[in-house]
């Protein structure tokens, strides 16, 4: 007896149903921590960790205390300023490096790429030992951590050229050649031909450059070196709950701080995610 055609449809409906179930579970699991985070940030009856999620007393106390009792505003301001400067400077650094490596041919180009590859194999943090001494000698640490950090983040940022170079590589080189024959200098080729075609990668680079400082802990902590006014949000919030006693006192404020950091960044990322995906899949994955 021939197989009934229904079984194929049924199989597919069954597997779809299974997939939906898995996806729902995944969604719950992934969103759960944030749900808890937000809830706990509104908890007013206690400031230490508890074993339940839904607050008994709702209120904005934690948020208010965050601004009045801690230097959260300062940390936020610091991080924002750093991110702003970094997004501009780093973009310039990265794009010039990747453009040069992608389209300009010069002696030592391959050597340069190899050297940067090898340099990248050292953990970036070991540079801090020397740099901290030098920067503190120049007064760019502690309370003045902001300019110091900007310098640290941006100075070597050109080493992260891989994704944007991958993007530039996809633009046909005969466009450059046609423009040069038409009479353009290499500078004009960059400004009149390549840049108008590079909107996705420029936005991607600015976006990633802006988001980076919000999440950095290692370098920010080292350069701020226990001076509260020089910390960024990551270091500041971590500092708030770093000892058992401070944890008991500040936990819910920490949650509030987390929410205040997460929300704007998330909105920014979601609205520009298309460019992020384009950049990442267009460049990074080609290796």
């Amino acid at each position: 007896m021939a197989k009934k055609p229904v079984s194929q449809k049924f199989k597919s409906r069954l597997s779809n149903g299974l997939i939906y179930a898995i996806l729902i579970i995944i969604s719950i699991v992934w969103l759960f921590p944030f749900f808890c985070l937000v809830c706990e940030s509104f908890r007013c009856e206690s400031s230490h960790q508890v074993g339940y999620i839904i607050p008994k007393v709702w209120g904005f106390d934690n948020y208010i205390n965050l601004f009045t009792k801690t230097s959260f505003l300062i940390w936020y301001k610091n991080t924002f300023i750093i991110a702003l400067f970094v997004s501009v400077i780093q973009t310039l650094m990265v794009l010039t490096m990747s453009y040069t490596l992608s389209r300009l041919r010069f002696k030592g180009r391959k050597g340069l790429m190899n050297i940067m590859l090898i340099l990248g194999m050292f953990p970036g943090f070991i540079t801090m030992i020397v740099l901290y001494k030098i920067l503190s000698g120049m007064g760019l640490t502690g309370a003045n951590a902001v300019p110091g950090l900007i310098l640290v983040y941006t100075a070597s940022s050109a080493m992260g050229y891989y994704v944007s170079k991958g993007f530039f590589d996809t633009i046909s080189r005969s466009l450059d050649e046609a423009a040069r024959i038409d009479g353009a200098t290499r500078f004009q080729v960059l400004t009149k031909i390549i840049m108008p075609l590079s909107k996705p990668i420029v936005i991607y680079t600015i976006l990633t450059a802006f988001m980076g400082p919000w999440g950095d802990f290692m370098f920010a902590k080292y350069i701020a070196h226990n001076t509260t006014s020089g910390m960024n949000v990551a270091v500041g919030l971590q500092n708030m709950i770093s000892t058992p006693s401070s944890l008991t006192a500040n936990y819910t404020m920490f949650c509030a701080g987390g929410v205040l950091v997460a929300v704007p960044i998330t909105i920014l990322f979601m609205s520009l995610q298309r460019y992020y995906v384009e950049g990442v899949t267009g460049g990074a994955v080609k290796g």
Partner: protein, 522 residues
């Protein structure tokens, strides 16, 4: 007769392509394995041959350079000969004033620097200082006042700068000589040299790369190259919080630090034991972190992308949302969630799974639980990102591959295993390597979740204090920032991380991707 031959085919010999096709799956596997093993010694040999080739290339290069310098001098005109001593003279004399001046200024600056500082610092480089600071009684202030001695740190810093300056000078001088030769050649063949104006204008054209790279390269040289060289030097000293150069001198100790790292002596101060433990956990962690995320992320991407699944944007959006939140927020919060008196334990208590305080699960307190937890949490962090990448690629697989397979009679499952998976693996292969290396140095996840703990007494004594989830990079961080910072040890570990990462990279690039597959998907 042929059956007998088939069953007892010698798998140790190299087979022709046709004979290879005769093998069944198991035989083919064994054959491939034997070939890989046979290739290893050949691969080592190739490495030596390659190294020898590069060394030969290097010496030939040096020889050629000297010959070139010699001939440039002998056959050059008087302008060229003078340029050997007064840099930039040839350029100025031939009309390229801007270039010439740059050379000249550089030479003057160099000479001045060497006289007024360079020589002084270099002279102390060998010992890194021998004059300790002392205190002297100052009658005016009626107290003991410090008289500065040598500062080892400064000595090392400035000596290194001087050495680099010297190398830069030699290179610039060589460029100066080379340019003289080029200028002579151009003039001899009847062509003209660029005027100063044209030379500057070409900075936006032929020499545009110099213009564009000037600032980025300066940044990299100052903030990466120089510190790394400095740190490599530190690894051969005893620079730590107690011997920081100012309050107390530090000096060269040769290979002592490296010996300590590899010396298997069992003692209370067992550095090599700690290193071994932390290194092995770092590699295990990197392996699990990378591959769990990779395959699970791909699986999720394939699931969502399946025909017939609605609300694709919603599912992807939820996952992407979680990766948009800054990592430190998520990690710190989850870290506290699983604390002994945190939310997780609290919920378990409410649900009755745990009856009383003594049954609290020490998520971060027990070695194996902590290790498993970091891997699991890392999955939570990493899947959205992998899913994003895989989704982008999935949508680019040519549809006619699937259509052709359908006509050939492949089931849905077969299509996944024989088309989707190989394609994905091929395109994202390089990403695996970068991801693996990234996880070796994944500071945030470990430090923010566990701080490296739980503390391990056996690891604590080896200086810097290390725990069961510490990676090399978190150990390095503690060694740099702790109360008893041991910079020399941090430097050594930094170098070891480099060795590990570069070995893996070289290994993967040379041994794994067979060139067979390269062209299949272009």
């Amino acid at each position: 007769m042929s059956e007998y031959k088939e069953k007892h085919m010698n798998l140790f010999k190299d087979l022709s392509d046709l004979d290879y096709l005769r093998l069944n799956k198991i035989q083919a596997l064994i054959y491939d394995l034997i070939r890989v093993i046979k290739a290893v010694p050949k691969w080592f040999l190739n490495l030596f041959v390659l190294a020898a080739k590069y060394i030969k290339k290097f010496f030939t290069f040096i020889k050629d350079e000297f010959v070139d310098i010699y001939t440039t001098f002998i056959y050059g005109d008087w302008k060229t000969k003078l340029s050997f001593f007064v840099m930039g003279f040839g350029s100025i004399a031939r009309g390229q004033i801007v270039r010439g001046l740059l050379f000249l200024v550089f030479q003057v600056v160099f000479i001045v620097y060497m006289c007024f500082g360079g020589v002084h610092w270099l002279s102390k480089f060998k010992t890194l200082g021998d004059t300790y600071a002392t205190t002297v009684y100052d009658p005016k202030l009626d107290t003991y006042v410090r008289v500065d001695g040598d500062d080892s740190f400064k000595i090392m810093l400035y000596s290194l700068m001087t050495i680099i300056f010297i190398i830069a000078f030699v290179w610039t001088w060589r460029t100066n000589v080379k340019q003289n030769k080029i200028m002579e050649d151009i003039l001899k063949s009847g062509r003209k040299l660029k005027s100063p104006k044209e030379d500057v204008e070409s900075l936006l054209d032929e020499q545009f790369h110099k213009t564009l790279l000037a600032v980025p390269l300066t940044g990299i040289m100052t903030f990466t190259v120089f510190p790394i060289i400095f740190m490599i030097l530190v690894a051969f000293t005893n620079y730590d919080a107690a011997h920081d150069g100012y309050s107390n001198l530090f000096t060269w100790v040769g290979m002592t630090n490296f010996n300590a790292l590899f010396n298997m002596n069992v003692g209370s101060d067992n550095l090599s034991f700690a290193f071994g433990e932390i290194l092995s956990w770092t590699l295990i962690w990197a392996f699990f972190a990378t591959f769990t995320n990779y395959f699970l992320g791909m699986f999720v991407a394939i699931m969502i992308n399946k025909k017939g699944i609605k609300l694709k944007k919603l599912w992807r959006g939820i996952l992407v949302l979680t990766s948009a939140v800054p990592q430190f927020v998520s990690l710190l919060y989850i870290s506290k969630m699983f604390a002994n008196n945190g939310l997780a334990n609290g919920l378990l208590m409410e649900l009755g799974i745990i009856k009383d305080i003594s049954q609290l699960i020490k998520f971060w307190g027990v070695k194996d639980i902590a290790r498993t937890m970091v891997i699991i949490i890392n999955i939570w962090i990493g899947i959205p990102y992998v899913m994003l990448i895989c989704t982008g690629i999935l949508m680019n697989i040519p549809k006619d591959l699937y259509e052709s397979a359908q006509i050939d009679g492949a089931t849905v499952f077969q299509q996944y295993t024989k088309i989707t998976m190989p394609y994905m693996l091929f395109v994202t292969g390089p990403y695996l390597l970068t991801s693996f290396i990234g996880n070796i140095n994944n500071f945030n996840v470990i430090y923010l979740l566990t701080g490296g703990g739980p503390g391990n007494p056996k690891l604590l004594t080896s200086g810097g204090g290390a725990g069961d989830t510490d990676l090399l990079i978190t150990w390095l961080f503690n060694l740099t920032t702790g109360a008893e910072s041991k910079y020399y040890l941090a430097a050594v570990i930094g170098i070891m991380i480099f060795v590990v990462v570069s070995s893996i990279s070289v290994f993967v690039y040379n041994v794994m991707p067979s060139t067979r597959n390269e062209e299949d998907y272009s």
